[in-house]
């Protein structure tokens, strides 16, 4: 039954750069283990490793990711860390996504039907929906990483509606909720959270001091928005993330962003 949930319920982190030496995330296995220990302390049991797939940041293929995931899982087990890592990628949007997918360089989270995709930070390409259409007709559902961080969405949050209509799912960064990326990103994340349009939360952890693993702090910060908002979203995250790893169907339960114009806005014209 749905009731007030205390911290400690969120156990799956679907966005992280915990794999060692593969992108701009963890530098080596030691750092990886520290990140995992930190996550464990926070109550996280399962982590999807989503190294960047884009020029310069990292171009490890999904097969290479899987090999590394296996190594980290074994090492973590030996160290007595009770966390399971799953394979994934954070694929940077580009026109060749379908080619890269067909060639096997990019893949989905834990070989499910869900692929994590990152948009450019400062511009919204007009062809995104047409390009991603090709992966959708191959039964893949795009999960858009941290939409609150993209400038076009911050400037006009209603732009996200088009992507809701196209059947995408969305993931919020824990750091965005905490306000670690600034006020504007925090504000946009709050708006999206109130609309319940995120199905997932991720730490987007890159290291141990700055952008680190763990989700509880963000959930506590959510209490500031309001308790009900926290509870609803926590439940959505929990259930959706489980389904993600099981590769079962995930429902979008949010609502579109309304064009917010004050009735007095004409006075300011």
């Amino acid at each position: 039954m749905f009731n007030g949930v205390k911290g400690g319920e969120l156990m799956i982190d679907i966005h992280s750069h915990v794999l060692p030496g593969i992108d701009d995330g963890s530098k080596d296995m030691n750092m990886t283990l520290d990140m995992l220990k930190q996550a464990q302390k926070d109550g996280v049991y399962e982590i999807v490793a989503t190294p960047h797939y884009l020029l310069e940041y990292g171009e490890s293929t999904i097969e290479e990711v899987k090999i590394l995931v296996e190594q980290v899982n074994q090492t973590a087990h030996k160290e007595g860390i009770n966390i399971r890592i799953y394979s994934g990628q954070e694929v940077y949007f580009n026109e060749n996504i379908i080619r890269d997918y067909l060639e096997g360089s990019i893949g989905t989270i834990n070989d499910s039907r869900y692929m994590m995709i990152e948009f450019p930070m400062h511009r919204l390409d007009k062809n995104i929906i047409d390009v991603l259409y090709e992966i959708q007709v191959r039964d893949i559902v795009p999960i858009i990483a941290h939409p609150e961080r993209y400038k076009p969405f911050r400037e006009d949050p209603t732009l996200i509606n088009e992507f809701i209509e196209a059947g995408y799912l969305f993931q919020v960064n824990a750091g965005s909720i905490e306000g670690r990326f600034g006020e504007s990103i925090k504000k946009t994340a709050s708006l999206f959270l109130k609309n319940n349009l995120y199905n997932f939360i991720g730490s987007d952890a890159h290291d141990i001091d700055n952008r680190t693993t763990g989700l509880q702090k963000a959930m506590n910060a959510l209490d500031e928005i309001n308790k009900e908002c926290r509870n609803i979203n926590e439940n959505i995250f929990e259930e959706s993330s489980k389904k993600l790893l099981e590769n079962s169907a995930i429902e979008f339960v949010g609502k579109k962003v309304k064009n917010k114009k004050s009735i007095f806005s004409f006075l300011r014209m």
């Binding site: 749905f2 090709e134 007709v137 509870n231 609803i232 439940n235 429902e251 339960v253 609502k255």
Partner: protein
């Protein structure tokens, strides 16, 4: 309780419904409906529209955007295929293509790639069933008008005629670009789609003039999205609900 129900009860709000649901074609999904019957009438009219020459190639166009020409083109194509004709629907709207979306299929290769010689016709054509195939637009080229005016396009139509009884071309709107005008000169007949209660009279007249100017054979207009006032009468001949 499912997640959706929980959220609905905890916060009274409606979930967004996936709007990308397959649009569907009435001649296929609701064969007994008034609309489907109208398409069959249209099919007959097209078959008898010419005494001396059988209509083998049809361009479907409209004066402006969003008048429903792709829906009409798809329904015409399917309805001919239902009468045991071998039919292909070709997306020649290289500006805002939609055939791939209507049939929820890939659009990696299509008309553009065939015209540029990147793939063979066989590689690009997608099979729906024994009688009905389609060719999607492919990548949107920088110069659609030139491509459609090329001899490669004429050759493509000729080659399709070897394999199919009927070729239906979905085209861009007339008043926006010259594409449909060009194509109308390459086919046996052109159909102009008009949306009831939306397309303005002068827009239709101008569209017809544009077609006349290039000597197109306009075999008819289709009044699309009309309010159905005769439903009761037609229901005697078979209502969908009775199935």
């Amino acid at each position: 309780m499912s997640l959706l129900e929980r959220i609905k009860t905890s916060k009274k709000q409606k979930a967004v419904v996936d709007k990308r649901v397959y649009a569907g074609f009435v001649v296929e999904d609701k064969p007994k409906s008034v609309d489907a019957e109208a398409y069959r009438t249209l099919r007959t009219n097209i078959q008898y529209s010419s005494f001396d020459k059988e209509i083998r190639t049809i361009a479907v166009t409209s004066s402006e955007m969003a008048e429903g020409k792709s829906t009409v083109a798809g329904n015409i194509a399917i309805s001919f295929s239902q009468s045991e004709k071998k039919v292909i629907l070709v997306d020649c709207d290289l500006r805002k293509p939609s055939v791939h979306k209507n049939f929820k299929t890939s659009n990696l290769v299509g008309v553009s790639e065939v015209l540029l010689g990147k793939v063979t016709l066989d590689e690009a054509v997608q099979k729906r069933d024994d009688n009905f195939n389609y060719l999607t637009s492919g990548k949107i080229p920088p110069n659609p008008s030139e491509m459609l005016a090329s001899s490669a396009m004429t050759n493509l139509i000729e080659r399709l005629k070897d394999e199919y009884d009927l070729i239906v071309l979905d085209t861009a709107p007339l008043r926006a670009v010259t594409d449909a005008q060009i194509l109308s000169t390459k086919v046996d007949g052109t159909i102009l789609v008009v949306r009831a209660g939306k397309t303005r009279k002068d827009a239709v007249i101008e569209a017809k003039n544009l077609l006349d100017k290039v000597g197109a054979n306009v075999i008819g207009t289709v009044l699309n999205a009309i309010e159905n006032t005769r439903g009761k009468y037609y229901a005697y001949y078979g209502n969908e609900d009775e199935k």
